[in-house]
């Protein structure tokens, strides 16, 4: 096993171990923090497919995070109020069941990613960054000014949604659920990285002409990657909304997009576990620096700047060294 593999396993062990310890020590808030880290990690894993493997610097992934959140908020609020979403052309009821909500969140954010990606991927480089940012803003303003689902106030769900066989209100059980989802998605991403699609996508990042000349269409590869990426980030959004029992346009803001990107850069771009380690470090920083000073963003900014300028590989790069070629 390589050092990177060891690092990855250690990260998973810490992420799972801390809440278990907190459970024994009766520190439920630590469990909540770990859950937050796991969910942020999931959002980052989603973005990392587009960003790390595909080289698509999307500054609008908060859109998918928020759409996933709203999928949960809208479905659950209708179920809470016993009011169907739609009665025509056929009856659509709200639901408090997580599996159904997840499915809707994934489909909705995938569709949004398809629309945004289809347009944005006509461009590349810096255009792509700015366009994804602008589309994110468009959805943000829509959510703020559309009154049906709370506008800026957002939507509150009073009881966390249910999962068959689990008591999701119990912090440790809900953490377990999020952790399991994260692990499942990590396995999935590992498979995708090593699949035909992964090979072609990463080749398209390195050399577009090469991919074209072997008869593949980079646009199509990227669009598929963008859609999968958006769908995973959307799933994370649904979980995040359930963690807070609340969703609001803040989840759609461009600062959120920036934060998801920060998880990846802290951990290491293009590494399978980059976002996992990045999200853990971010949560840790937020709670240690945040306690030290009102102006903790200054320190966060300085730290981020240091990583970008001097430690490009992030935490994993520092521990495991340069990425070795896959085989």
């Amino acid at each position: 096993m390589t050092r990177e593999t060891w690092t990855n396993l250690a990260a998973l062990a810490v992420l799972a171990g801390v809440p278990l310890w907190a459970y024994v020590a009766d520190e439920p808030f630590i469990i909540t923090l770990a859950t937050r880290a796991a969910i942020f990690a999931l959002a980052g894993v989603g973005l990392n497919l587009a960003l790390g493997l595909g080289g698509l610097v999307s500054l609008g992934h908060a859109a998918f995070f928020g759409i996933g959140g709203y999928a949960m908020g809208i479905l659950a609020s209708h179920a809470q109020a016993y009011a169907p979403l739609a009665e025509w052309p056929f009856l659509i009821e709200g639901t408090k069941s997580m599996p159904v909500i997840w499915l809707v969140a994934v489909v909705a954010s995938a569709l949004a990613a398809l629309a945004i990606g289809a347009l944005s991927l006509r461009t590349s480089g810096v255009y792509f960054i700015m366009i994804t940012l602008a589309f994110g803003q468009m959805i943000y303003y829509f959510a703020i000014s559309w009154p049906a689902y709370g506008g800026e106030d957002g939507l509150s769900i009073y009881v966390r949604n249910g999962f068959p066989g689990l008591n999701t209100l119990d912090p440790i059980q809900f953490f377990g659920l999020c952790f399991a989802v994260l692990c499942a998605v990590l396995v999935l991403m590992w498979l995708v990285q090593n699949s035909a699609f992964g090979l072609a996508l990463s080749a398209a990042r390195q050399n577009e002409t090469r991919v074209l000349s072997v008869g593949m269409v980079p646009y199509r590869l990227r669009l598929v990657a963008f859609v999968i990426s958006g769908a995973i980030t959307g799933l994370a959004g649904a979980l995040f909304a359930d963690l807070n029992r609340f969703v609001s346009p803040t989840m759609l803001s461009w600062q959120m997009s920036g934060e998801i990107m920060i998880f990846i850069i802290i951990g290491g771009v293009g590494r399978l576990f980059g976002p996992v380690i990045g999200a853990m470090v971010f949560i840790l920083l937020e709670h240690t620096l945040g306690g030290l000073s009102e102006f903790w963003h200054v320190y966060l900014g300085a730290l981020l700047l240091g990583i970008v300028l001097f430690a490009k590989g992030g935490v994993i790069g520092a521990i495991a060294g340069r990425e070795k070629a896959h085989d």
């Binding site: 498979l191 995708v192 090593n194 699949s195 035909a196 699609f197 992964g198 090979l199 072609a200 990463s202 080749a203 390195q206 050399n207 002409t209 090469r210 991919v211 074209l212 000349s213 072997v214 008869g215 593949m216 269409v217 590869l221 598929v224 990425e323 070629a325 896959h326 085989d327």
Partner: protein
């Protein structure tokens, strides 16, 4: 008359006032190496790009085995059998040599949207890839990172990737450029073999190689073909000697 595999029919392309391609018609026949020569700026690269679909032609047509390619993008043309190597290496530098070749094999098979099966464990892809590597003599470097290859090896790898596509036509843009004498000899030997698999449209500045390899030569000057013929015919054509070849022609 031997079978024509690739044909261009009165291709035009202008950039502003500059006529980069000015009514070019040429054909490539089964089993031959057809060299395209001409001074810098004659429009060779533009022509290649029009054939591969990277540039849209203003008018004219390209046909592969009688099928018109008009309106198709580079990826579709590659799928139909245009195998191309590049003047400046176009390889996925972070990937291994083997991964680059597998990518070609994957393109040939046309099943890129597979998300779960590990591609580097696919037996038929690996077989095709290793065969191509063996053909160009890179078998020993299969697990080397492409960025760590020498210049000449990258050229060979380009050819190997093109081979995995099982193309109907090779379009080679200066495969000898930057190779030493020994490397050039190896490449000449390789191309001599390759023409059996598919005819080659060769753009090359190395006149020794051109005259050693080509069955026919076309001379492109200012976007127009001023002559096409066997190496012997081209060698003795006084107009070409004057216009272009000068003293470079071996006696």
């Amino acid at each position: 008359m031997t079978e024509v595999v690739l044909r261009t029919e009165r291709l035009f392309k202008s950039f502003g006032a500059l006529k980069a391609t000015n009514g070019v018609s040429l054909d490539l026949r089964k089993g031959e190496i057809h060299a395209l020569i001409g001074p810098n700026g004659a429009g060779k690269s533009t022509l290649i790009q029009q054939i591969t679909g990277h540039l849209a032609s203003d008018s004219g047509a390209v046909e592969l085995m009688g099928t018109p390619l008009t309106g198709l993008g580079p990826a579709q043309r590659a799928q139909l059998g245009l195998g191309r190597t590049f003047q400046i290496s176009a390889l996925a530098m972070e990937h291994t040599v083997l991964q680059n070749v597998v990518l070609g094999a994957l393109g040939q098979r046309g099943t890129v949207m597979r998300f779960f099966a590990p591609v580097m464990k696919d037996k038929s892809l690996l077989a095709a890839a290793h065969e191509a590597l063996a053909q160009v003599g890179l078998s020993d470097f299969a697990s080397t990172r492409t960025a760590d290859l020498s210049h000449g090896q990258r050229r060979q790898l380009e050819v190997a990737v093109a081979l995995t596509l099982k193309p109907k036509v090779f379009l080679m843009d200066e495969p000898m450029a930057g190779l030493g004498l020994e490397g050039a000899q190896q490449m000449i030997a390789l191309l001599t073999e390759l023409r059996k698999a598919a005819p080659i449209l060769l753009i090359e500045h190395d006149m020794d190689a051109v005259f050693a390899l080509a069955d026919r030569i076309s001379v492109l000057v200012y976007g127009e073909i001023i002559a096409t013929g066997t190496p012997e015919e081209i060698k003795v054509n006084p107009e070409i000697r004057r216009a272009y070849l000068g003293d470079e022609v071996p006696a």
